[in-house]
Amino acid sequence: MLQAIVSGLVMGSIYALIAQGYYITSITTGRINFGQGDFLMMGSMAGLFFLTGKLPGLRVATGLQLPYWAAILLALVVVGFLGLVLERVAVRPLRKYLAVGAIMGTIAVAIMLRNIAILLYGRDVLPVPSPFGSRYLHFAGIGITAHEIFVIIVSLLAMSLVYLFLKRTILGKAFMAVAHNQDAAALMGIDVDRMTSLAFILASVLAGLGGMLVAPITFASAYLGAILGLKAFAAAIVGGLEDPLGILVGGMLLGIAEQVFGRWNSAAQDGAAFVLILLILAFRPTGLFGRALKEKV
C-alpha cells in the first residue's frame, strides 16, 4: 500500500507539472492546449536527440552527445519555440472562436507534431537513459529508483518556480493582470499579445520538462503523449483549472488513486482516474478547489 502511494506520487507529480500548463493558458486566454501531451512527447524526443545525437527515423547519427543538463535545456528551448508557433498559428487566429473551434486548432497542431515525430524517430518505442542510471533505493520496505526521486524533486521545484514567478515578479504580475481582465491590463500598458504568447511558451516548456522526466520511466514514442495529456487534463479538472495548488493536489490524488486501484487489476488502474473525476465533478462542478460560478444578471 505504502509502495503504491509512493509510486503514485511519482506519476502524480508529473501529471501536476503538465497540468500547470493548462492552468497558465486557461487563466490568460480561457483556452488550453489539447495537444499538451504531444508537446510532452516532443520534449522527450528532443531530449533524446540531444542525449544520443540520433534521429532513427531519418537514420541520422551526428555523434554529438550532450550532458544531461544541456540536453534538458535545449529540449526546453525547442518545445518552448513550438509553443510559440502553436500560439501564433492555431490559437491567436482562432481567438474569436467558441471553445470548440479553439480546441480543434490545438488538436490539429498536435496531430501534425505526432507525424513529425514519427518521421524523425520512427514508430518504435525508444529507451531513454536517466542521469542516475538504474540506481535503486530501499527503505522501510519501499523501493524507489533514484530517477523517481529526481522526478518528484524537479517537478515540485519547477512548480514552485512558476508559482513564485507569477506571484513575485513584475512580469508575473503583468501576466496575472491579463488573467484577471484583458482589457484593463491592456489599458495599463501591458502587451496582452505578448503575455498570451508567453503563456503558451511557458505551458509548453512545462510539458517538455515533464517529457524529459517521464521518458526514462515510460520510454519515448510518438504516441506517448495522448494518454499522459489526458491524465494531466484530468488532474487539472479534479483540482480546478483556476487553482495551481488545487492542480498539484489533483495530480497527486490521481497518481495515488491509479496505483492503489492498480493493486486490484490493471483495468481498475486505467479506470480509476475517470471514475474519480466523474464523482468529483458530480458534487463539485468546478473541481475540488474551483470557485462556484455565479452568473451576473
Partner: protein, 607 residues
C-alpha cells in the same frame, strides 16, 4: 409551389440519387466498405452536430455511445438469438440510456469541465470494451456476429451500404425538420442564454439532457450498423480517436449545418483511405487540412456552402420583404387580462457571504398596477428582482403570487405560473431572428411534440402558423414588425430592448418584471418605451419596474418603493416619494444637499 418542388429535389432527390449511384462508381469491395464506414460515421456525427451546434454542449466521448450501440447489438443478437433489427434497437436503447446518464452528469459542468466529463464517460466504455474480455472478447474481438438478412438471405455489401446511407439521409431530414421547429429554437435559446430561456418557462435541464439522449441514440445506431458490418470486430476500434474524429468532422463540415455531417464524415473517413500511399504523412495532411479549414472557413465547409447559397438567392428575397418602418398597433387582445395577481414579499432577505444585499423587505405589488422599485446603485433592486424570479435563492422571507407561495421556485416554474421578466444586460438569443426570439416566448403554450415536428405533421405546422401570427401581432405592438426576419444581434440597442419585451409578452404573462427598460435608450426611445409600458399596464398585467430614469418612473408608476443599502426607506405614490427627505438624502447625500435643493442654489442650477 415551384420553390417547394425545387427544395424537395435539392434536399431529397439529389442526395438519394447520389447515395444510390455511388456504389457503381467503383464497384469493388474495398470502396463499398469505405462507403459503409462513411455512412455510419455520418449518423454518429449528425447527432454530435445537433449537440454542439444547437444545444451548445460538447462531447469528446462519442466513442462511448458508438461502443455501447455496437456491443449491445452484437451481444444481444449473438447470445439471445433475437432478430438483428431487434438487437440493433436494444443497442440503441442501451446507448440512449447511457446518454441520459451522461447528460445528467453534464448538467452542472461547463466548457472544459464538460469536455472532461464526456472524455471520462467515453474512456470508461473504452476500458470495458478492452478489458472485460469474457464479454467483449477485447482485442481478440467478437466473432460470428449475426448479419442482417432479408427473407433468409444475407444482405450484400452494397445493399447494406444502401440501408446505412438511406438511414443517414432519413436521420438528416428528420433532424432538419426538428431544428427548424420549436425544438431547434428552444435548443438555440438554451445555447445563447440559459437564464433568459428559463425566464421564458423552458426547463433547461430537460432540454440539455434531451439533446444528449438524442445524440446518444444516433451514436448507438451508428455503432449498431458498425457491429453488423462484418462478422467480427475487436475492441481496437473503440478509442479516443473516434471521439476526436467525430468532433473534427462536425467542425470541418460546418457546425449546425445540415449538410456538414456528411461532408465531415466523408473527409475524416475518406482522407486516410485515399491517401494510404502517403501513410507516413497522413497525420500531417489531416492536421493541416483541419487547421486550414479552421483558419479559412470559420463556419466549416457546410457554412461556406450555405453562405454561397444565401447570397445566390438572397437578392430576390430581401427586396420584397422589408418595409422601412414598423407599425403602431394596439396591445393584442390575447394579452389583455383581468387576472393580474398581486405579488407579495414578506421579510425577504438575500445575503451574499455577509453582505446584506436585500434585508427584510416587505412590499406588495397590487394586482394590475405598475409598481416602481428605485434606489441608488447597489441598493438591492436587481437582487430583489432576481430573488422574486427565482434566479437567486432567498436567504429568508417569502414571495407569494396571488394566493400561492412561490419562494425560491425555479424561474421556469414561475414563468409557467405566468411571471416573467426582462434583463438589465440584454439577454437575447443572438443566433435567432427577431421573430424566432418572440416565438421562443410562446414556449409554454406550444404542445406539438417531438414526433409531430420530426415528421412535420399538419398539427405541428398549424400550431407554428398560429403562433407565428401571434408573434407578429406582438411585434407590431412594440413597433418592430419590419425587423421580424433580422438576426437579433444586428439590431440597435433600443430595438433589442423592444425584442426582449416582445419576447416576455409572448409568454402571455400575468406578472411582468422589467429590469431597467430605459437603460441605454435615447430620449426619443425613452418616450416610446414609456408609452409602450403604459399600454401594457392598461392591458391588466401586473408590472414591476426597476429603473433609474426618474421621469419615466414618476410618470408610469402607481406606487413606488425606494431601497437603500438593501432596506426599504420609503413607499408611496410619486409625489410622496419625491418629497420624502430620506429619499432625497439617499440619492444626493446629507442634509446640506436638502437645504441646497430647497434653497436658492437649486433654482440657479435649474436655469
Amino acid at each position: 409551389m415551384k420553390r417547394k418542388a425545387l427544395s424537395f429535389v435539392l434536399r431529397v432527390g439529389i442526395p438519394a440519387a447520389v447515395i444510390y449511384l455511388l456504389p457503381f462508381v467503383y464497384p469493388n469491395k474495398f470502396f463499398i466498405d469505405v462507403l459503409q464506414q462513411v455512412g455510419y460515421t455520418w449518423i454518429l456525427v449528425a447527432g454530435l452536430n445537433l449537440l454542439v451546434g444547437y444545444s451548445g454542449q460538447i462531447s469528446l466521448g462519442q466513442v462511448g455511445f458508438f461502443g455501447l450501440g455496437a456491443y449491445g447489438s452484437a451481444l444481444v443478437a449473438k447470445h439471445f438469438h433475437v432478430p438483428v433489427p431487434l438487437a440493433m434497437l436494444t443497442g440503441v436503447a442501451l446507448s440512449a440510456a447511457f446518454g441520459f446518464v451522461v447528460g445528467l452528469l453534464a448538467l452542472r459542468v461547463r466548457g472544459l469541465y464538460l469536455a472532461m466529463v464526456t472524455i471520462a464517460t467515453g474512456s470508461l466504455v473504452e476500458i470495458l470494451a478492452n478489458r472485460w474480455t469474457s464479454l467483449t472478447g477485447g482485442p481478440m474481438g467478437i466473432a460470428d456476429v449475426p448479419r442482417l438478412t432479408v427473407g433468409g438471405a444475407k444482405l450484400g455489401p452494397v445493399e447494406y451500404y444502401w440501408l446505412i446511407a438511406f438511414t443517414g439521409l432519413l436521420v438528416t431530414l428528420g433532424l432538419y425538420n426538428l431544428v427548424r421547429s420549436r425544438f431547434g429554437r428552444t435548443w438555440l435559446a438554451v445555447k445563447n442564454s440559459e437564464i433568459a430561456a428559463r425566464a421564458l418557462g423552458i426547463d433547461v435541464l430537460k432540454w440539455k439532457v434531451g439533446a444528449f439522449v438524442l445524440n446518444a441514440t444516433l451514436g448507438g445506431l451508428a455503432g449498431a450498423f458498425f457491429a453488423h458490418q462484418n462478422s467480427l470486430f475487436t475492441s481496437d476500434t473503440f478509442t479516443y480517436d473516434v471521439s476526436v474524429r467525430s468532433l473534427v468532422a462536425v467542425i470541418i463540415g460546418g457546425t449546425g449545418t445540415m449538410i456538414g455531417p456528411v461532408i465531415g464524415s466523408a473527409l475524416v473517413i475518406g482522407l486516410p483511405t485515399f491517401f494510404r500511399q502517403l501513410y507516413d504523412y497522413y497525420l500531417l495532411l489531416f492536421g493541416g487540412i483541419l487547421l486550414l479549414t479552421l483558419l479559412l472557413l470559420p463556419d466549416g465547409i457546410g457554412g461556406a456552402v450555405a453562405r454561397l447559397w444565401k447570397s445566390f438567392r438572397g437578392k430576390a428575397r430581401t427586396a420584397q420583404l422589408d418595409r422601412p418602418e414598423g407599425s403602431q398597433a394596439p396591445l393584442p387582445d390575447f394579452l389583455r387580462r383581468t387576472d393580474g395577481p398581486p405579488v407579495r414579499l414578506e421579510g425577504l432577505s438575500m445575503f451574499f457571504q455577509g453582505v446584506k444585499a436585500v434585508n427584510n423587505l416587505t412590499m406588495t405589488i397590487a394586482p394590475g398596477e405598475v409598481h416602481g422599485l428605485i434606489g441608488p446603485n447597489g441598493s438591492g433592486k436587481s437582487t430583489t428582482i432576481n430573488v422574486i424570479t427565482g434566479i437567486y435563492t432567498a436567504t429568508a422571507g417569502q414571495v407569494s403570487l396571488g394566493d400561492e407561495t412561490v419562494t425560491s421556485r425555479a424561474p421556469d416554474q414561475l414563468a409557467r405560473l405566468g411571471m416573467t421578466r426582462t434583463f438589465q444586460n440584454i439577454q437575447l438569443f443572438t443566433d435567432l431572428t427577431v421573430l424566432d426570439n418572440v416565438l421562443v416566448g410562446f414556449h409554454r403554450h406550444m404542445s406539438a411534440g417531438y414526433i409531430a415536428h420530426l415528421l412535420r405533421l399538419p398539427s405541428a405546422l398549424r400550431e407554428e402558423a398560429a403562433f407565428r401570427e401571434r408573434a407578429m401581432a406582438i411585434l407590431q405592438f412594440v413597433g418592430i414588425d419590419h425587423l421580424a426576419g433580422e438576426e437579433a444581434k444586428n439590431l440597435s440597442y433600443g430595438q433589442q430592448r423592444l425584442v426582449e419585451i416582445a419576447r416576455a409578452l409572448a409568454t402571455e404573462p400575468r406578472v411582468l418584471m422589467l429590469d431597467e427598460p430605459a437603460a441605454g435608450l435615447n430620449n426619443v426611445e425613452v418616450h416610446r418605451m414609456t408609452a409602450l409600458i403604459r399600454e401594457i399596464a392598461r392591458g391588466g398585467i401586473t408590472l414591476l419596474i426597476v429603473e433609474h430614469h426618474m421621469e419615466m418612473v414618476m410618470e408610469l408608476c402607481d406606487a413606488i418603493t425606494v431601497l437603500n443599502f438593501g432596506e426599504k426607506i420609503a413607499e408611496g405614490n410619486a409625489l410622496q416619494v419625491k418629497s420624502n427627505p430620506k429619499v432625497i438624502e439617499a440619492y444626493l447625500g446629507g442634509d446640506d444637499v436638502i437645504s441646497l435643493l430647497n434653497g436658492e442654489v437649486a433654482r440657479h442650477v435649474g436655469d
